[in-house]
């Protein structure tokens, strides 16, 4: 194996391992902290794929905002007694079997996948000459301007919805 393949193997192995560790933790706080390590590894994989903007966003939004939100909610709820009961549902074997069968099927289908030409114009050299963030910014603010604006509406609805749902009912 060449050096990039070893690099990928490390990240892939760590991501898979950390995912399994994360979903099997009894205490959700431990799960969140393992998920933080997992997201850092996913950001490393993004860097490896020449997506440095997304690597930064992954750290800032996922690790910085979403996981902190999870931690806040876990600490708002008093979950002391949840830690002593069974952590899996009654029919967990069926769920695990469904997941394993799904994985086997998808891996069998995608095992030989590859891309066919024509390739787009954003080759590594083109991105490198302009800078990764400038390239993605140009695409986002021209071709995908309307979806970008709609994303801001989605976030606005989320803010209002979260406040309305979680606030104390008056009267």
């Amino acid at each position: 194996m060449t050096a990039p393949q070893w690099f990928f193997a490390y990240f892939a192995g760590m991501i898979t391992l950390l995912s399994v560790v994360m979903i099997t933790r009894r205490n959700p706080v431990h799960g969140v902290l393992w998920m933080l390590v997992l997201f850092v590894h996913i950001a490393g994989l993004y860097l490896f794929l020449n997506a440095e903007f997304l690597a930064a966003i992954q750290i800032i939004v996922y690790a910085g905002a979403i996981l902190v939100l999870f931690l806040f909610v876990i600490m708002l709820l008093n979950l002391k007694k949840e830690l002593t009961v069974r952590k899996v549902q009654q029919h967990w074997v069926i769920g695990a079997a469904v997941g394993a069968i799904f994985a086997a099927l998808v891996v069998a289908v995608v095992a030989g996948i590859t891309v066919l030409p024509p390739l787009g114009k954003y080759s590594i050299e083109a991105i490198r000459s302009e800078g990764g963030i400038m390239t993605i910014g140009k695409v986002m603010y021209t071709k995908y301007l309307l979806p970008f604006e709609i994303a801001s509406l989605v976030l606005l609805v989320a803010i209002v919805g979260a406040v309305v749902l979680a606030k104390k009912r008056i009267g």
Binding site: G31, F102, A158, A162
Partner: protein, 100 residues
Amino acid sequence: MVPLSWYIILSAVVFSIGVVGFFTRRNLIMIFMSVELMLNSVNISLVAYSHYLQSMRGQVLVFFVIAVAAAEAAIGLAIIIAYYKNNPTIKVDEINLLKG
């Protein structure tokens, strides 16, 4: 050079781990974290395709997925808090108000 299929297989495996977590855990917060895991695995495959097809679409789509994931986490956790105020449990097999 790393083949594209390795990334897609990694993405499929992580997605399946998320599915298993979603189906087996009892704790509602762990179920939400499994959903986040599934979203992340999809992001990995999108970024990989974007790189190998030399296109920017995948990366732009990942940006929107992250924005929607943030909205989803905020709304979902607000629903958990709202539910917990009425019935202090987050075990999914005990949340059966709509069962009738």
